[in-house]
């Protein structure tokens, strides 16, 4: 079935097709239409879920963790301030090994108030142990929502679907909606194994640990995050087999013979492809990679694409004050292990904060600057800022 859906409604369809059982939710622009849609779907009997109209995002995540510990498939959605408020519970979900799935609509941070897009909210959760899956278009949003449950439940790690505010959340695109029974075959009901609050098997979860035990619990998270790279690839492949659409943690575009490779994520990937095509027409040896996963970070795949390139231009729609954009940090540290001759120069660019447009022209400009400058003039270069 094909329908014209916004990114937010695509998330709701994904959750519905995944037969989510418990949805604790709290409204925030621009996430709201996700949870409104789910409320409507529930009211119309399209999905048999327990909807908890919680009083905050903090409680939304706490209730998701509780529901997951009760053995149910739990889902919520938020953005910006809501995700910041959840931060403590994001760590908690990972530690409790609850495979909660959350859709985050990238919204920039206040103050000053803003509702427009950038990735500061999700990249700020980098250390929480959540799998983070960034999306470029609404089809990818729907498909990733379904896959996120499978990935999370396989690993017993929580997973976040990330989509740009407004560019996806409120923009409509024609979308292929997978058949419900096929999704059910692809994603069977959540099986909590023996890790749930089973009255017939009374156990205590999350009790105080001493320093002789805590580190092992953390190491298991790290071990499973490393495993996640393989699991995500397998789920992508299985999804492609069943539904005919293939996703990648690192998707290279015309990068093979490129001297300069641009690195983007989210909706900038679509604009980026247009920019690359235009530049190629003009004879430039330029390519691009689109990153889907921030965590686990696909180091090996990135190295495989970028090894031996002359220059890499990374566009970060986020930044860490006092340091650099987050994707740039990650890529710098991944590439450092390459021998000097194979190690490209890294040009970090900050662009599009608070929803400012990242147009084809801007991407072309970034490319031109990268080619022109023998070395980057700074550790990060801010694009289009009126310095006052």
């Amino acid at each position: 079935m094909r329908k014209v859906l916004t990114g937010n409604v695509a998330v709701a369809y994904g959750a519905m097709l995944a037969d989510v059982q418990v949805v604790p939710a709290y409204p925030i622009t621009p996430q709201t239409t996700i949870i409104e849609e789910l409320a409507t779907m529930q009211a119309e009997g399209l999905v048999d879920l327990d909807y908890i109209r919680v009083e905050s995002e903090h409680s939304a995540m706490a209730a998701c963790i509780g529901a997951s510990m009760g053995g149910a498939r739990a889902f919520t959605a938020t953005c910006g301030q809501g995700l910041f408020l959840m931060h403590e519970m994001l760590h908690y979900a990972t530690g409790a090994r609850t495979p909660v799935v959350l859709a985050n609509v990238n919204r920039a941070a206040a103050a000053p108030w803003t509702i427009w897009s950038d990735q500061t909210d999700s990249v700020s959760q980098r250390e929480t142990g959540w799998i983070q899956l960034y999306c470029e278009g609404n089809q990818e949003v729907l498909d990733t929502t379904i896959m996120a449950f499978k990935i999370a439940e396989t690993l017993r790690l929580p997973a976040m679907i990330v989509l740009d505010a407004f560019f996806l959340s409120h923009t409509s695109e024609p979308i292929d909606i997978p058949d419900r029974e096929t999704v059910r075959d692809f994603l069977p009901p959540f099986d909590p194994g023996d890790l749930w609050l089973d009255p017939n098997n009374p156990r205590t979860f999350g009790g105080i640990t001493m320093s002789d035990a805590y580190m092992e619990f953390r190491w298991q998270i790290q071990r499973d995050m490393e495993k996640a790279k393989g699991v995500i690839t397998e789920v992508h492949e299985e999804f492609a087999k069943v539904f005919g659409r293939k996703y990648h943690q690192v998707e290279a575009y015309r990068a093979e013979d490129a001297d300069v490779v641009m690195v983007v994520s989210g909706t900038v990937a679509s604009t980026g492809r247009d920019a690359i095509d235009l530049l190629r027409e003009k004879g430039h040896q330029v390519g691009m990679i689109k990153l889907k996963t921030l965590r686990p970070f696909p180091r090996e795949e990135i190295i495989a694409v970028l090894k031996g390139k002359k220059k890499v231009a990374i566009i970060d729609r986020n930044f860490s004050p006092g340091a650099t954009g987050i994707w740039a940090q990650e890529i710098r540290s991944a590439l450092y292990e390459l021998p000097e001759g194979d190690r490209p120069l890294i040009y970090g660019y900050i662009a599009g904060l608070g929803g400012r447009d990242i147009s084809v022209k801007i991407i072309e400009g970034i490319y031109q600057k990268t080619v022109k400058d023998d070395r980057p003039d700074d550790v990060d270069m801010w694009i289009g800022v009126n310095y006052v």
Binding site: I52, V54, A63, L197, P199, N201, P202
Partner: protein
């Protein structure tokens, strides 16, 4: 029927123990005894969620646990939201008979957890929330909470600057949510307490039980005084025992034979040692005033 030195016939207290010996509470801990009695009243199947508080420590460190019911350690301010989530999962999975219980301290209830608690109460989620009230943040070393009584010493309200605000009236706040059941109880009156837990189990919707739980460590008193001090709190109307259905039908369940002045209650505890006779008189007035309002409710609604 109720006086300070009376003895209870304990033969009718259920023998089943849903926790084993070997907990690591301080001697004389009212919170520890409270859990034992509460579980006797509740029976199985019961599932517990407990936030950061002394009860994080009491069941033992990983991998040991004294609990014979599933027990989830949740984040400090999330007890109510966590049990709402657990209950929703059971409902969806056809296990609606499980009694889902949140068990939090006064700090986790009166202060940091009140937002989530209010949400769960307002939605009338089908859970039992228990606050064991030892009138301070004990787990972190006896700091003031919204439940600490006026005049009390704590480590953040030292003797030269003791707590100057009255205890927050959490029961009135919960009653205002019109929840199906609210009760106050204390382990010093075990029959009354167990009956309330049994009753709570039989009711659907949001239930709230406020337990008065002596803490010899934080109250600066010998551990053999816990029961006596809990009884004195009831007999001097500092912590009256009652229940309220649907926010309107009040019933006092333990009516003292004779109402005692608060003096003995105060004098037994080091946390009040610095107070003058004048101070105690002032506090007596506050206790009388508050009980006066409650008595009107007991009489009016019966």
């Amino acid at each position: 029927m109720y006086s300070l030195n009376q003895r209870f016939d304990n033969r009718d207290i259920p023998e089943d123990e849903l926790l084993t010996s070997g907990n690591v509470a301080c001697a004389g801990c009212g919170a520890s005894l409270s859990m034992r009695l509460a579980l006797k009243g509740l029976g199985k199947p019961t599932v517990l969620a407990v936030p950061a508080c002394c009860w994080t420590i009491i069941p033992g460190a990983w991998p040991l646990s004294i609990m014979d019911v599933p027990f989830f350690h949740c984040a400090f301010e999330t007890t109510a939201a966590t049990i709402s989530g657990i209950k929703a999962a059971y409902r969806k999975r056809g296990m609606d008979d499980i009694c889902v219980v949140g068990w939090a301290g006064d700090g986790g209830t009166f202060d940091i957890g009140i937002q989530a608690l209010s949400g769960t109460a307002e939605r009338n989620d089908d859970v039992l929330y228990v606050c064991y009230d030892n009138e301070a943040y004990m787990n972190t070393g006896i700091q003031r909470s919204g439940a600490t009584p006026i005049g009390s010493w704590t480590t953040t309200t030292p003797v030269k600057n003791p707590k100057s605000e009255q205890k927050k009236d959490i029961d009135a706040i919960m009653i205002a949510h019109k929840i199906p059941y609210l009760a106050t109880a204390t382990a010093a009156y075990p029959h009354d307490m167990i009956a309330k837990f049994k009753k709570a189990r039989s009711i659907k919707g949001m239930r709230f039980i406020h337990l008065f739980a002596a803490c010899p460590t934080g109250w600066r008193m010998p551990e053999n005084l816990s029961i006596k001090v809990m009884r004195l709190a009831v007999l001097s109307n500092i912590f009256p025992l009652y229940e309220v259905e649907n926010g309107e039908t009040y019933r006092q369940t333990v009516i003292p034979d004779e109402i005692m002045p608060i003096d003995e209650y105060m004098h037994l505890q080091g946390r009040f040692r610095h107070l003058t006779d004048e101070d105690v008189k002032e506090f007596q007035k506050m206790v009388d005033k508050r009980f006066g309002h409650l008595r009107e409710d007991f009489e009016k609604k019966n």
